[in-house]
Protein backbone atom coordinates (compact mmCIF):
# COMPACT_ATOMS: atom_id res chain seq x y z
CA UNK A 1 0.00 0.00 0.00
CA UNK A 2 1.34 3.38 -0.90
CA UNK A 3 0.32 6.38 1.11
CA UNK A 4 1.01 9.45 -0.89
CA UNK A 5 0.43 12.71 0.83
CA UNK A 6 0.87 16.21 -0.34
CA UNK A 7 2.82 18.32 2.12
CA UNK A 8 1.13 21.57 1.27
CA UNK A 9 -2.02 22.38 -0.61
CA UNK A 10 -1.65 25.23 -3.03
CA UNK A 11 -4.10 27.44 -1.18
CA UNK A 12 -2.23 27.17 2.10
CA UNK A 13 0.33 29.70 3.31
CA UNK A 14 4.02 28.88 3.01
CA UNK A 15 5.04 27.03 6.16
CA UNK A 16 8.04 28.67 7.82
CA UNK A 17 7.60 27.53 11.39
CA UNK A 18 9.62 24.31 11.50
CA UNK A 19 10.65 24.89 15.12
CA UNK A 20 7.00 24.70 16.15
CA UNK A 21 6.40 21.44 14.39
CA UNK A 22 7.24 19.65 11.18
CA UNK A 23 4.96 17.89 8.74
CA UNK A 24 5.06 14.14 8.84
CA UNK A 25 7.41 12.82 6.20
CA UNK A 26 5.31 10.73 3.78
CA UNK A 27 7.85 7.90 4.14
CA UNK A 28 7.22 7.95 7.88
CA UNK A 29 3.48 7.77 7.41
CA UNK A 30 3.91 4.85 5.07
CA UNK A 31 5.94 2.96 7.64
CA UNK A 32 3.33 3.68 10.31
CA UNK A 33 0.20 2.69 8.41
CA UNK A 34 0.29 -1.10 8.88
CA UNK A 35 0.50 -0.62 12.64
CA UNK A 36 -2.69 1.42 12.60
CA UNK A 37 -4.44 -1.32 10.68
CA UNK A 38 -3.68 -5.01 10.43
CA UNK A 39 -0.55 -5.04 12.61
CA UNK A 40 -2.50 -3.72 15.56
CA UNK A 41 -1.13 -6.00 18.29
CA UNK A 42 -0.14 -4.89 21.76
CA UNK A 43 3.68 -4.90 21.82
CA UNK A 44 3.53 -6.18 25.39
CA UNK A 45 1.44 -9.25 24.47
CA UNK A 46 3.80 -12.19 24.76
CA UNK A 47 1.42 -14.99 23.86
CA UNK A 48 0.75 -14.55 20.15
CA UNK A 49 2.15 -13.31 16.89
CA UNK A 50 0.18 -10.04 16.92
CA UNK A 51 2.09 -9.03 19.99
CA UNK A 52 5.45 -10.31 18.73
CA UNK A 53 5.12 -8.43 15.46
CA UNK A 54 4.31 -5.19 17.28
CA UNK A 55 7.11 -5.74 19.75
CA UNK A 56 9.57 -6.30 16.95
CA UNK A 57 8.52 -3.02 15.35
CA UNK A 58 8.85 -1.11 18.60
CA UNK A 59 12.31 -2.54 19.28
CA UNK A 60 13.43 -1.68 15.76
CA UNK A 61 12.32 1.90 16.35
CA UNK A 62 14.19 2.02 19.63
CA UNK A 63 17.37 0.92 17.84
CA UNK A 64 16.85 3.49 15.08
CA UNK A 65 16.69 6.27 17.67
CA UNK A 66 19.65 4.92 19.64
CA UNK A 67 21.78 4.82 16.52
CA UNK A 68 21.06 8.44 15.69
CA UNK A 69 22.41 9.63 19.04
CA UNK A 70 25.20 7.11 19.53
CA UNK A 71 23.48 5.27 22.37
CA UNK A 72 22.40 1.71 22.99
CA UNK A 73 18.82 0.67 22.25
CA UNK A 74 18.37 -0.45 25.84
CA UNK A 75 18.96 3.15 26.86
CA UNK A 76 15.99 4.56 24.95
CA UNK A 77 12.54 4.76 26.48
CA UNK A 78 9.43 6.02 24.77
CA UNK A 79 7.38 8.88 26.18
CA UNK A 80 4.55 11.06 24.92
CA UNK A 81 6.91 13.80 23.79
CA UNK A 82 9.79 16.02 24.78
CA UNK A 83 7.77 17.73 27.51
CA UNK A 84 7.23 14.43 29.27
CA UNK A 85 10.84 13.43 28.66
CA UNK A 86 12.06 16.65 30.26
CA UNK A 87 9.73 16.20 33.22
CA UNK A 88 10.76 12.60 33.70
CA UNK A 89 14.48 13.28 33.36
CA UNK A 90 14.64 16.21 35.76
CA UNK A 91 12.02 15.20 38.31
CA UNK A 92 13.10 11.57 38.05
CA UNK A 93 16.75 12.08 38.96
CA UNK A 94 16.03 14.86 41.42
CA UNK A 95 13.64 12.64 43.32
CA UNK A 96 15.87 9.58 43.25
CA UNK A 97 19.05 11.27 44.45
CA UNK A 98 17.50 13.90 46.71
CA UNK A 99 19.08 12.57 49.90
CA UNK A 100 22.56 13.16 48.52
CA UNK A 101 22.16 16.00 46.07
CA UNK A 102 19.41 18.57 45.89
CA UNK A 103 20.68 21.25 43.53
CA UNK A 104 19.82 21.70 39.86
CA UNK A 105 21.54 23.90 37.29
CA UNK A 106 19.76 25.12 34.18
CA UNK A 107 19.65 28.23 31.99
CA UNK A 108 17.16 31.05 31.67
CA UNK A 109 16.54 30.31 27.99
CA UNK A 110 15.32 26.74 28.42
CA UNK A 111 11.95 25.67 27.09
CA UNK A 112 9.05 26.45 29.39
CA UNK A 113 8.61 22.78 30.27
CA UNK A 114 12.12 22.65 31.76
CA UNK A 115 11.77 25.97 33.56
CA UNK A 116 8.36 25.07 34.92
CA UNK A 117 9.63 21.69 36.07
CA UNK A 118 12.48 23.41 37.88
CA UNK A 119 10.06 25.88 39.51
CA UNK A 120 7.99 22.93 40.65
CA UNK A 121 11.05 21.28 42.18
CA UNK A 122 11.97 24.52 43.95
CA UNK A 123 8.60 24.35 45.66
CA UNK A 124 9.49 20.81 46.69
CA UNK A 125 12.61 22.09 48.42
CA UNK A 126 15.25 21.73 45.71
CA UNK A 127 17.49 24.66 44.92
CA UNK A 128 17.88 25.71 41.30
CA UNK A 129 20.49 27.91 39.64
CA UNK A 130 19.24 29.61 36.49
CA UNK A 131 22.33 30.54 34.53
CA UNK A 132 22.18 33.62 32.32
CA UNK A 133 23.31 33.34 28.71
CA UNK A 134 25.62 35.56 26.72
CA UNK A 135 24.44 37.93 24.00
CA UNK A 136 25.02 35.08 21.56
CA UNK A 137 22.53 32.93 23.47
CA UNK A 138 25.28 30.55 24.54
CA UNK A 139 26.04 29.59 28.10
CA UNK A 140 29.30 30.82 29.62
CA UNK A 141 31.27 27.69 30.48
CA UNK A 142 33.17 29.32 33.33
CA UNK A 143 29.92 30.45 34.89
CA UNK A 144 28.62 26.93 34.49
CA UNK A 145 31.70 25.43 36.08
CA UNK A 146 31.34 27.78 39.02
CA UNK A 147 27.65 26.97 39.43
CA UNK A 148 27.98 23.18 39.58
CA UNK A 149 28.79 21.96 43.09
CA UNK A 150 29.06 18.61 44.84
CA UNK A 151 25.38 19.09 45.70
CA UNK A 152 24.33 19.39 42.05
CA UNK A 153 22.34 16.38 40.92
CA UNK A 154 21.65 17.41 37.34
CA UNK A 155 22.60 20.08 34.86
CA UNK A 156 19.83 20.58 32.32
CA UNK A 157 20.86 22.61 29.28
CA UNK A 158 19.09 22.45 25.95
CA UNK A 159 21.06 21.39 22.89
CA UNK A 160 19.41 23.84 20.49
CA UNK A 161 17.19 26.72 21.47
CA UNK A 162 13.69 26.63 20.05
CA UNK A 163 13.43 30.37 19.44
CA UNK A 164 16.89 31.35 18.25
CA UNK A 165 18.31 28.02 17.09
CA UNK A 166 21.68 28.42 18.80
CA UNK A 167 23.67 25.28 19.58
CA UNK A 168 25.11 25.02 23.08
CA UNK A 169 28.64 23.62 23.51
CA UNK A 170 27.40 20.18 24.54
CA UNK A 171 30.72 18.35 24.69
CA UNK A 172 32.23 21.02 26.94
CA UNK A 173 29.16 21.06 29.17
CA UNK A 174 29.24 17.26 29.39
CA UNK A 175 32.88 17.34 30.38
CA UNK A 176 32.24 19.79 33.21
CA UNK A 177 29.30 17.71 34.48
CA UNK A 178 31.35 14.52 34.42
CA UNK A 179 34.20 16.18 36.32
CA UNK A 180 31.79 17.41 38.97
CA UNK A 181 29.80 14.20 39.23
CA UNK A 182 26.53 15.78 38.15
CA UNK A 183 24.26 14.24 35.55
CA UNK A 184 23.96 16.04 32.25
CA UNK A 185 20.47 16.24 30.82
CA UNK A 186 19.88 17.94 27.49
CA UNK A 187 16.57 18.83 25.90
CA UNK A 188 17.50 17.92 22.35
CA UNK A 189 14.05 18.30 20.80
CA UNK A 190 15.33 20.90 18.32
CA UNK A 191 18.72 19.26 17.81
CA UNK A 192 18.11 15.61 17.09
CA UNK A 193 18.36 14.88 13.41
CA UNK A 194 19.57 18.42 12.73
CA UNK A 195 23.10 18.28 14.12
CA UNK A 196 25.34 15.30 14.90
CA UNK A 197 24.84 14.15 18.49
CA UNK A 198 26.82 11.53 20.35
CA UNK A 199 25.87 10.74 23.92
CA UNK A 200 29.26 9.09 24.49
CA UNK A 201 31.50 11.81 23.12
CA UNK A 202 29.37 14.50 24.74
CA UNK A 203 28.96 12.75 28.10
CA UNK A 204 25.21 13.12 27.94
CA UNK A 205 23.38 11.12 30.61
CA UNK A 206 19.82 12.02 29.71
CA UNK A 207 18.48 13.32 26.43
CA UNK A 208 14.96 14.36 25.53
CA UNK A 209 13.76 13.71 22.01
CA UNK A 210 10.57 14.73 20.21
CA UNK A 211 8.88 12.92 17.34
CA UNK A 212 7.12 15.81 15.64
CA UNK A 213 10.18 18.04 15.42
CA UNK A 214 11.91 15.50 13.20
CA UNK A 215 9.15 14.86 10.63
CA UNK A 216 7.68 12.13 12.81
CA UNK A 217 4.27 12.01 14.46
CA UNK A 218 3.00 14.13 17.33
CA UNK A 219 2.32 12.46 20.65
CA UNK A 220 5.57 10.50 20.84
CA UNK A 221 8.97 11.30 22.20
CA UNK A 222 11.85 9.47 23.76
CA UNK A 223 14.22 9.80 26.64
CA UNK A 224 17.74 8.51 26.50
CA UNK A 225 18.76 7.22 29.95
CA UNK A 226 22.40 6.19 30.32
CA UNK A 227 23.09 2.69 31.65
CA UNK A 228 26.82 2.95 32.23
CA UNK A 229 27.34 4.65 34.60
CA UNK A 230 23.73 4.00 35.45
CA UNK A 231 21.28 6.84 35.85
CA UNK A 232 18.36 6.04 38.11
CA UNK A 233 15.00 7.71 37.90
CA UNK A 234 11.80 7.73 39.88
CA UNK A 235 8.97 7.15 37.44
CA UNK A 236 6.24 9.73 36.90
CA UNK A 237 3.75 7.20 35.59
CA UNK A 238 3.27 3.96 37.49
CA UNK A 239 1.63 0.84 36.18
CA UNK A 240 2.65 -2.32 34.38
CA UNK A 241 6.34 -1.54 34.52
CA UNK A 242 6.88 -1.10 30.79
CA UNK A 243 9.97 0.76 29.57
CA UNK A 244 12.24 -0.65 32.28
CA UNK A 245 9.77 0.61 34.86
CA UNK A 246 10.49 4.22 33.94
CA UNK A 247 7.28 4.73 32.03
CA UNK A 248 4.31 2.42 32.34
CA UNK A 249 1.58 2.22 29.75
CA UNK A 250 1.06 0.38 26.49
CA UNK A 251 3.36 1.69 23.81
CA UNK A 252 1.64 3.32 20.82
CA UNK A 253 3.17 1.05 18.20
CA UNK A 254 2.45 3.21 15.11
CA UNK A 255 3.87 6.28 16.80
CA UNK A 256 6.99 4.38 17.92
CA UNK A 257 7.46 3.13 14.39
CA UNK A 258 7.03 6.70 13.16
CA UNK A 259 9.62 8.29 15.40
CA UNK A 260 12.00 5.42 14.62
CA UNK A 261 11.59 5.80 10.88
CA UNK A 262 11.93 9.58 11.21
CA UNK A 263 15.19 9.06 13.11
CA UNK A 264 16.53 6.74 10.44
CA UNK A 265 15.70 9.16 7.63
CA UNK A 266 17.25 12.02 9.62
CA UNK A 267 20.41 10.00 10.10
CA UNK A 268 20.72 9.26 6.39
CA UNK A 269 19.87 12.75 5.20
CA UNK A 270 21.23 15.00 7.93
CA UNK A 271 24.37 16.10 6.08
CA UNK A 272 22.74 16.86 2.75
CA UNK A 273 19.73 18.46 4.42
CA UNK A 274 21.92 20.69 6.58
CA UNK A 275 23.83 21.88 3.51
CA UNK A 276 20.62 22.60 1.63
CA UNK A 277 19.09 24.45 4.56
CA UNK A 278 22.25 26.48 5.08
CA UNK A 279 21.91 27.73 1.51
CA UNK A 280 18.27 28.61 2.07
CA UNK A 281 19.11 30.35 5.33
CA UNK A 282 21.79 32.43 3.57
CA UNK A 283 19.41 33.20 0.73
CA UNK A 284 16.73 34.37 3.11
CA UNK A 285 19.06 36.49 5.21
CA UNK A 286 20.98 38.12 2.37
CA UNK A 287 17.70 38.71 0.54
CA UNK A 288 16.28 40.56 3.51
CA UNK A 289 19.47 42.40 4.40
CA UNK A 290 19.95 43.66 0.87
CA UNK A 291 16.48 45.20 0.81
CA UNK A 292 15.82 46.28 4.38
CA UNK A 293 17.93 48.47 6.65
CA UNK A 294 17.90 48.02 10.42
CA UNK A 295 17.15 44.36 10.75
CA UNK A 296 18.98 42.36 13.37
CA UNK A 297 19.57 38.64 13.78
CA UNK A 298 18.98 37.52 17.35
CA UNK A 299 21.41 34.93 18.68
CA UNK A 300 24.68 33.61 17.34
CA UNK A 301 24.65 33.02 13.58
CA UNK A 302 27.64 30.65 13.56
CA UNK A 303 26.59 28.25 16.29
CA UNK A 304 23.12 27.84 14.95
CA UNK A 305 21.06 25.24 13.16
CA UNK A 306 20.59 26.23 9.51
CA UNK A 307 16.81 25.88 9.75
CA UNK A 308 16.36 28.87 12.03
CA UNK A 309 16.43 32.60 11.70
CA UNK A 310 15.21 34.97 14.39
CA UNK A 311 15.15 38.52 13.13
CA UNK A 312 14.11 41.83 14.63
CA UNK A 313 12.63 44.22 12.08
CA UNK A 314 13.18 47.46 13.96
CA UNK A 315 10.21 49.86 14.25
CA UNK A 316 7.68 47.24 13.11
CA UNK A 317 5.69 45.36 15.72
CA UNK A 318 5.80 41.59 15.22
CA UNK A 319 2.13 40.75 15.35
CA UNK A 320 1.15 43.46 12.91
CA UNK A 321 3.82 42.15 10.58
CA UNK A 322 2.46 38.62 10.88
CA UNK A 323 -1.02 39.93 10.10
CA UNK A 324 0.35 41.43 6.93
CA UNK A 325 2.33 38.48 5.65
CA UNK A 326 -0.74 36.33 5.25
CA UNK A 327 0.96 34.07 2.78
CA UNK A 328 3.59 33.04 5.33
CA UNK A 329 3.27 31.04 8.53
CA UNK A 330 5.92 32.19 10.98
CA UNK A 331 5.98 32.89 14.68
CA UNK A 332 6.81 36.01 16.64
CA UNK A 333 8.66 36.94 19.78
CA UNK A 334 6.24 39.77 20.19
CA UNK A 335 4.05 39.81 23.24
CA UNK A 336 1.00 40.63 21.22
CA UNK A 337 0.74 37.11 19.89
CA UNK A 338 0.27 35.70 23.35
CA UNK A 339 -1.97 36.48 26.26
CA UNK A 340 0.97 37.32 28.50
CA UNK A 341 1.77 40.70 26.91
CA UNK A 342 5.43 40.10 27.74
CA UNK A 343 7.87 39.83 24.86
CA UNK A 344 9.95 36.67 24.47
CA UNK A 345 11.89 35.81 27.63
CA UNK A 346 14.56 34.20 25.47
CA UNK A 347 15.25 37.41 23.57
CA UNK A 348 15.16 39.40 26.80
CA UNK A 349 17.75 36.99 28.25
CA UNK A 350 20.09 37.80 25.36
CA UNK A 351 19.84 41.45 26.31
CA UNK A 352 17.70 42.33 23.29
CA UNK A 353 15.87 45.59 24.08
CA UNK A 354 12.19 45.13 24.77
CA UNK A 355 11.30 47.32 21.83
CA UNK A 356 13.37 45.14 19.51
CA UNK A 357 11.98 41.97 21.06
CA UNK A 358 8.53 43.21 20.05
CA UNK A 359 9.67 43.39 16.44
CA UNK A 360 11.04 39.87 16.11
CA UNK A 361 9.96 37.01 13.91
CA UNK A 362 11.09 33.42 14.10
CA UNK A 363 11.49 31.95 10.65
CA UNK A 364 11.86 28.19 10.52
CA UNK A 365 13.08 26.42 7.40
CA UNK A 366 12.92 22.69 6.91
CA UNK A 367 12.88 19.61 4.75
CA UNK A 368 10.10 20.77 2.46
CA UNK A 369 11.08 24.43 2.13
CA UNK A 370 12.00 25.41 -1.42
CA UNK A 371 14.06 28.21 -2.91
CA UNK A 372 10.94 29.64 -4.50
CA UNK A 373 9.23 29.73 -1.14
CA UNK A 374 12.19 31.57 0.37
CA UNK A 375 12.13 34.13 -2.44
CA UNK A 376 8.39 34.64 -2.06
CA UNK A 377 8.85 35.04 1.69
CA UNK A 378 11.58 37.65 1.23
CA UNK A 379 9.40 39.65 -1.16
CA UNK A 380 6.40 39.52 1.11
CA UNK A 381 8.42 40.45 4.20
CA UNK A 382 10.12 43.37 2.48
CA UNK A 383 6.82 44.70 1.17
CA UNK A 384 5.09 44.58 4.53
CA UNK A 385 8.00 45.82 6.62
CA UNK A 386 8.23 48.84 4.33
CA UNK A 387 4.49 49.43 4.48
CA UNK A 388 4.41 49.19 8.27
CA UNK A 389 7.49 51.37 8.67
CA UNK A 390 5.71 54.04 6.63
CA UNK A 391 3.01 54.06 9.26
CA UNK A 392 5.33 53.69 12.26
CA UNK A 393 5.84 56.83 14.35
CA UNK A 394 9.09 55.30 15.63
CA UNK A 395 10.47 54.88 12.13
CA UNK A 396 9.51 58.48 11.36
CA UNK A 397 11.23 59.72 14.51
CA UNK A 398 14.33 57.65 13.79
CA UNK A 399 14.47 59.07 10.26
CA UNK A 400 14.25 62.56 11.77
CA UNK A 401 17.26 61.70 13.88
CA UNK A 402 15.40 61.62 17.18
CA UNK A 403 16.97 59.27 19.69
CA UNK A 404 14.04 57.15 20.86
CA UNK A 405 15.84 56.45 24.10
CA UNK A 406 15.88 60.17 24.93
CA UNK A 407 12.11 60.26 25.16
CA UNK A 408 10.35 59.66 28.42
CA UNK A 409 7.84 57.04 27.38
CA UNK A 410 4.98 56.32 29.69
CA UNK A 411 4.82 52.62 30.41
CA UNK A 412 1.27 51.36 30.29
Amino acid sequence: MTVLTQIRRNDQPIYLDYQATTPLDPRVLEAMMPYFTYKFGNPHSRSHSYGWEAEEAVEKARAQIAKLIGGDEKEVIFTSGATESNNLAIKGVAEFYKDRRSHIVTTVTEHKCVLDTCRHLEQQGFSVTYLPVQKSGLVDLEQLRAAVTDKTVVVSIMAVNNEIGVIQPLAEIGKICREKGAFFHTDAAQAVGKIPLDVEAMNIDLMSISGHKIYGPKGIGALYVRRRPRVRLVALINGGGQERGFRSGTLPTPLCVGIGEAAEIAMKEMDSEAKRLKKLQDRMLTGLQSKLPEIYVNGDLEHRIPGNLNISFAYVEGESLMMGIKGLSVSSGSACTSASLEPSYVLRALGVDEELAHTSLRIGLGRFTTETEVDTAVDELVRHVNKLREMSPLWEMAQEGIDLKSIEWAAH
Binding site: Y315, V316, E317, E319, S320, M323, G324, S334, A335, C336, A339, L341, P343, D353, E354, E355, H358, E390, M391, S392, P393, L394, W395, E396, M397, I402, L404, I407, E408, W409, A410, A411, H412
Partner: protein, 145 residues
Protein backbone atom coordinates in the same frame (compact mmCIF):
# COMPACT_ATOMS: atom_id res chain seq x y z
CA UNK B 1 -6.67 34.91 16.79
CA UNK B 2 -9.70 35.62 14.66
CA UNK B 3 -10.32 39.29 14.04
CA UNK B 4 -13.47 41.03 12.83
CA UNK B 5 -13.82 42.10 9.23
CA UNK B 6 -13.92 45.76 10.29
CA UNK B 7 -10.64 45.39 12.16
CA UNK B 8 -8.96 43.63 9.26
CA UNK B 9 -10.25 46.29 6.87
CA UNK B 10 -8.72 49.07 8.98
CA UNK B 11 -5.46 47.13 9.24
CA UNK B 12 -5.24 46.43 5.53
CA UNK B 13 -6.58 49.78 4.35
CA UNK B 14 -5.68 52.15 7.13
CA UNK B 15 -7.34 55.57 6.85
CA UNK B 16 -5.45 58.81 7.29
CA UNK B 17 -1.91 57.59 7.68
CA UNK B 18 0.59 60.38 7.80
CA UNK B 19 1.74 63.43 9.65
CA UNK B 20 0.64 67.01 10.01
CA UNK B 21 3.02 69.84 10.82
CA UNK B 22 3.42 69.52 14.56
CA UNK B 23 4.61 73.13 14.81
CA UNK B 24 1.40 74.46 13.28
CA UNK B 25 -0.72 76.24 15.92
CA UNK B 26 -3.86 74.59 14.58
CA UNK B 27 -2.42 71.10 14.97
CA UNK B 28 -2.59 69.09 18.17
CA UNK B 29 -0.30 66.09 18.50
CA UNK B 30 -0.74 63.16 20.87
CA UNK B 31 2.02 60.60 21.28
CA UNK B 32 1.11 57.79 23.64
CA UNK B 33 2.37 54.35 24.56
CA UNK B 34 5.93 53.08 24.75
CA UNK B 35 8.12 51.08 22.37
CA UNK B 36 9.02 48.69 25.19
CA UNK B 37 5.35 47.86 25.64
CA UNK B 38 4.97 47.14 21.95
CA UNK B 39 2.69 50.00 21.01
CA UNK B 40 3.12 53.68 20.29
CA UNK B 41 0.44 55.83 18.69
CA UNK B 42 0.87 59.28 17.22
CA UNK B 43 -2.44 60.99 16.54
CA UNK B 44 -2.71 64.48 15.11
CA UNK B 45 -5.73 66.72 14.68
CA UNK B 46 -6.00 69.94 12.70
CA UNK B 47 -8.68 72.28 13.92
CA UNK B 48 -10.26 74.69 11.46
CA UNK B 49 -11.31 78.31 12.12
CA UNK B 50 -14.86 77.06 12.75
CA UNK B 51 -13.64 74.98 15.70
CA UNK B 52 -14.22 71.69 13.90
CA UNK B 53 -11.53 69.07 13.39
CA UNK B 54 -10.92 69.30 9.67
CA UNK B 55 -8.15 66.74 9.39
CA UNK B 56 -6.67 63.91 11.41
CA UNK B 57 -3.63 61.75 10.80
CA UNK B 58 -2.02 58.89 12.61
CA UNK B 59 1.04 56.71 12.72
CA UNK B 60 1.11 53.62 14.90
CA UNK B 61 3.73 51.11 15.95
CA UNK B 62 1.79 48.21 17.36
CA UNK B 63 -0.26 45.15 16.68
CA UNK B 64 -3.08 44.99 14.16
CA UNK B 65 -5.64 46.01 16.77
CA UNK B 66 -3.62 49.09 17.69
CA UNK B 67 -3.33 50.12 14.04
CA UNK B 68 -7.04 49.55 13.45
CA UNK B 69 -8.03 51.44 16.63
CA UNK B 70 -6.02 54.49 15.66
CA UNK B 71 -7.19 54.37 12.06
CA UNK B 72 -10.79 54.23 13.25
CA UNK B 73 -10.51 57.21 15.58
CA UNK B 74 -9.03 59.42 12.86
CA UNK B 75 -12.26 58.78 10.95
CA UNK B 76 -14.42 59.43 13.98
CA UNK B 77 -12.87 62.72 15.08
CA UNK B 78 -13.10 64.42 11.70
CA UNK B 79 -15.89 66.99 11.58
CA UNK B 80 -16.29 66.97 15.35
CA UNK B 81 -15.51 69.80 17.74
CA UNK B 82 -12.64 69.03 20.08
CA UNK B 83 -15.12 68.73 22.95
CA UNK B 84 -17.11 66.14 21.01
CA UNK B 85 -13.93 64.29 20.03
CA UNK B 86 -12.95 64.20 23.69
CA UNK B 87 -16.03 62.15 24.50
CA UNK B 88 -14.99 59.17 22.33
CA UNK B 89 -14.71 56.21 24.66
CA UNK B 90 -12.43 53.22 24.36
CA UNK B 91 -15.43 50.96 24.82
CA UNK B 92 -16.98 52.36 21.63
CA UNK B 93 -13.77 51.64 19.72
CA UNK B 94 -13.49 48.14 21.19
CA UNK B 95 -17.13 47.43 20.39
CA UNK B 96 -16.94 48.72 16.83
CA UNK B 97 -13.85 46.63 16.02
CA UNK B 98 -14.96 43.66 18.17
CA UNK B 99 -11.58 43.63 19.90
CA UNK B 100 -10.78 40.44 21.79
CA UNK B 101 -10.30 40.95 25.56
CA UNK B 102 -6.48 40.89 25.40
CA UNK B 103 -6.58 43.75 22.90
CA UNK B 104 -8.80 46.13 24.87
CA UNK B 105 -5.70 48.10 25.86
CA UNK B 106 -5.29 49.08 22.20
CA UNK B 107 -8.62 50.93 22.33
CA UNK B 108 -7.62 52.53 25.62
CA UNK B 109 -4.47 53.77 23.96
CA UNK B 110 -6.46 55.20 21.04
CA UNK B 111 -8.73 57.10 23.46
CA UNK B 112 -5.63 58.40 25.24
CA UNK B 113 -4.16 59.48 21.92
CA UNK B 114 -7.18 61.63 21.13
CA UNK B 115 -7.13 63.16 24.60
CA UNK B 116 -3.40 63.85 24.30
CA UNK B 117 -3.84 65.49 20.89
CA UNK B 118 -6.65 67.67 22.25
CA UNK B 119 -4.59 68.61 25.30
CA UNK B 120 -1.69 69.59 23.06
CA UNK B 121 -3.94 71.69 20.84
CA UNK B 122 -5.43 73.44 23.89
CA UNK B 123 -2.00 74.07 25.40
CA UNK B 124 -0.93 75.74 22.16
CA UNK B 125 -4.06 77.85 22.14
CA UNK B 126 -3.36 79.02 25.68
CA UNK B 127 0.24 79.67 24.79
CA UNK B 128 -0.86 81.83 21.90
CA UNK B 129 -2.86 84.11 24.16
CA UNK B 130 -0.37 84.20 27.04
CA UNK B 131 3.05 83.20 25.68
CA UNK B 132 5.22 81.12 27.98
CA UNK B 133 7.84 78.45 27.65
CA UNK B 134 6.41 75.05 26.79
CA UNK B 135 7.77 71.74 25.75
CA UNK B 136 7.56 70.77 22.10
CA UNK B 137 4.82 68.18 21.73
CA UNK B 138 6.95 65.52 20.16
CA UNK B 139 9.27 65.28 23.12
CA UNK B 140 6.62 64.28 25.61
CA UNK B 141 4.72 61.04 25.58
CA UNK B 142 1.49 61.48 27.44
CA UNK B 143 0.69 59.00 30.16
CA UNK B 144 -1.48 56.24 28.83
CA UNK B 145 -2.95 55.22 32.12
Amino acid sequence: MAYSDKLIDHYENPRNIGSLDKNDDDVGTGLVGAPACGDVMKLQIKVGPDGLIEDAKFKTFGCGSAIASSSLVTEWVKGKTIDEAGTIKNTDIAKHLALPPVKIHCSVLAEDAIKAAIADYRAKAVQKTEPQAGKPADQTAEAAE
